[in-house]
Amino acid sequence: MTSTGAVLALRAAPRGERVMRGAAETSDESLLARVAGGDEAALAELYDRFGRVAYGLALRVLRDERLAEDAVQEAFLAIWRQAASYRPDRAKAQTWVLTLVHRRAVDLVRREERRRTDVLEPELEPAGGSAAEAAETRDRRVAVQRALAQLPEEQRRPIELAYYGGFTQSELADRLGEPLGTVKSRMFTGLSRLRELLEESGQEEERWNEPEFTS
């Protein structure tokens, strides 16, 4: 970059987009490009797609409804302000959104020091939640839980405690009574294996209209 040319290119909002859903439906990626252009309706649509999973995730990490709402709100406003920095060639829109939500939730839980010892047990199991959620959401959840359950215990626990509990790797080492190096390599091995399992079950590549549970 040596002139305003690069700046102007940077300002041009629409970027390459990958159609990940049916052709009739706007892809998450082009939705995010519209958000980058300041389109409120696109932000609303993005929230309608990911608000619930974002809230569920934040609630799981923070275990407090008010804090979970704060985390989701902060994350979506960050999305609103930072959508122009999203690079579709680097990440799926969904990954980008949920990564932001998770980061906010974890930062908040560490600040609030709200983590409890019973972090692995979902505390706020919604009554009738299963009936209210779409079949594809439920199928996806079951597939993810199933893949997690296939991991050896010593890999699954640090991953769950880290992702759902917001613990740092050092805290995990203390908590699990393992050397830090062991925790690191188990998370690495476990996450690699989890990725394979999700790919096998069709979850990783968004082929969620035809979930297969053959693995």
Partner: protein, 216 residues
């Protein structure tokens, strides 16, 4: 830390299992390690899948309304006749200006006095934050969650009027809210852009634009 050690951290990074310091250190490594970038991208997908493993109750409807209201509020501050992202000196801008004032003691008095004269805030493109501009052309960049400049590098601000970017000072980033007063005034119609340059800064930009704002 040895090589395998730091590569392994890509899992902990994607799971947000690093402390703030470890995260920062890993991001420095990540900036120039293609292998880790790819691993992290894949692991972030996997981590995002874990979000779908949670049974999610419906969020309260007020949350949606609150988010959209607040987003709209930021939007309503856009001054249509001038730059696309310019904000009027509303409470929000005053707050940003106050942050700049606190960050720069020398600025405090003048900014405070000029609040009535409506300093303008321009939304950054490519990063979260604003360029605050006083009527005299004094300018400060307020950037949220800006990653620290990689080892041996620095952020450098440029004021671009016409074709020639002029250096406007260097800064390190890495703060929750990085505030930096430009060393040069920003005339009407100029663009402010920030690149990553070798430590000490360059006379003319050599890196890609990280983020920018146009002062209409």
């Amino acid at each position: 830390m040895e090589r395998t050690g730091i590569h392994e951290l890509s899992a902990a990074y994607a799971l947000d299992a690093l402390s703030a310091d470890e995260r920062e250190e890993f991001e420095e490594h990540l900036a120039h390690c293609t292998e880790c970038k790819e691993t992290v991208a894949a692991f972030h997908d996997t981590a995002a899948s874990l979000a779908h493993g949670v049974e999610a109750p419906k969020p309260p409807p007020e949350l949606r309304a609150r988010i959209l209201d607040e987003a709209r509020g930021e939007r309503e501050n856009v001054v249509a006749l001038r730059p696309r992202w310019a904000l009027r000196a509303t409470g929000a801008v005053a707050a940003v200006a106050a942050v700049a004032a606190i960050a720069f003691g020398i600025w405090a008095a003048s900014l405070h006095n000029q609040l009535g004269d409506r300093p303008e805030a321009f939304r950054l493109e490519g990063a979260s934050g604003q360029l605050v501009l006083t009527p005299d052309g004094d300018a400060a960049l307020i950037v949220n969650d800006l990653a620290p400049a990689p080892a041996g590098k620095t952020y450098e601000a440029w004021v671009i009027e016409g074709e020639t970017p002029k250096p406007a000072g260097t800064f390190a980033g890495g703060e929750t809210q990085t505030a930096f007063a430009l060393t040069r005034t920003v005339p009407d119609g100029a663009t402010v852009a920030v690149t990553i340059e070798p430590a000490g800064g360059s006379e003319s930009p050599t890196g890609d634009v990280q983020f920018s704002a146009s002062g209409a």
